[in-house]
Amino acid sequence: MPIKILSVDDSRTIRLIVGRTLRPFDCVLIEAGNGEEGLAAAAREKPDLILLDVTMPVMDGVTMLTQLRETPELKATPVIMLTAESGRENVLHIARLGVRDYLVKPFKEEQLLEKIGKVVSLVKKETAALPAAA
């Protein structure tokens, strides 16, 4: 079963960067444009990891995370927050919300991959396609 990763960000640019970063790996990327869509996608798809933006219209990342943690079947889903704010207060606030990790924008694709790799086991597509050894 490929890893399922849900990217919740109102910026298509960030979702595209996430998709490009994960393209070589055997995983399914699900996208949502705000927290409300993100919660619906999480309930439907049961992702192995959620990459969550903070500032979004309709429902922001903090509200989505709070509701996620109140939903029994989703509360254990690991979350990596993507935030444009690097300040100490913001980082502490995010840590208190119970996220697995966070990444401050701007970021390099290698940094994103490193954070994701600490939470889920990414397997390259070529490796995944090889037949199992006898």
């Binding site: 910026s11 640019t13 960030i14 960067i17 500032t55 219209p57 704010e85 690097s86 924008k105 701007p106």
Partner: protein, 160 residues
């Protein structure tokens, strides 16, 4: 609250932070330039993000030519400029760059005991417009040279 915008050192912070954002996301060098002229943008794209807190309000604007906006989007999305036919793709990239600049500035304000929230980005496009701050709002601008184009980062700030 007696903090003045001079204490926040907007020029120095933005001079460094914008370079970092452009280098990381676009692999482009944005070099601060010190001239007292307002650059002329024949076709302008402006990304804007609002800032609002108990003791501080304002906005950040990133002004650039439409040609540079296309170049930046091309670099970030990894597509040739001629393949970027959809203006909304370019707008999204410029909005995200503005969001990153504003997010860093928000953290900088927070470090000066001026906590605030930032809005989602908006884009303005046109040929001849000026953004005038209301009375009592201080305006500071930092100019950058990037790929032989002029980028202006403008901050409007009112500190109570």
């Amino acid at each position: 609250m007696s903090i003045q915008t001079s204490a926040i050192n907007v020029q120095k912070f933005l001079g460094e932070h914008v370079q970092s954002v452009f280098e990381t996301m676009l692999s482009m060098k944005a070099v601060p330039v010190s001239i007292n002229l307002s650059p002329h943008y024949p076709e302008r794209v402006t990304g804007s993000v609002g800032l609002g807190g108990e003791n501080v309000t304002g906005a950040i604007y990133l002004h650039m030519t439409a040609a540079f906006a296309r170049l930046a989007a091309s670099s970030l999305l990894g597509l040739p400029p001629e393949e970027l036919t959809n203006e909304s793709e370019i707008n999204d990239v410029i909005g995200e760059l503005t969001n990153m600049v504003a997010g860093g500035f928000k953290s900088h304000l927070n470090d000066h005991d001026l906590p605030c929230a930032i809005s989602t980005p908006a884009i303005i496009r046109g040929t001849a417009y000026e953004i005038e701050p209301p009375q009592g709002v201080q305006r500071e601008s930092v100019l950058f040279n990037c790929a032989n184009e002029c980028i202006t980062v403008e901050v409007h700030l009112r500190i109570n």
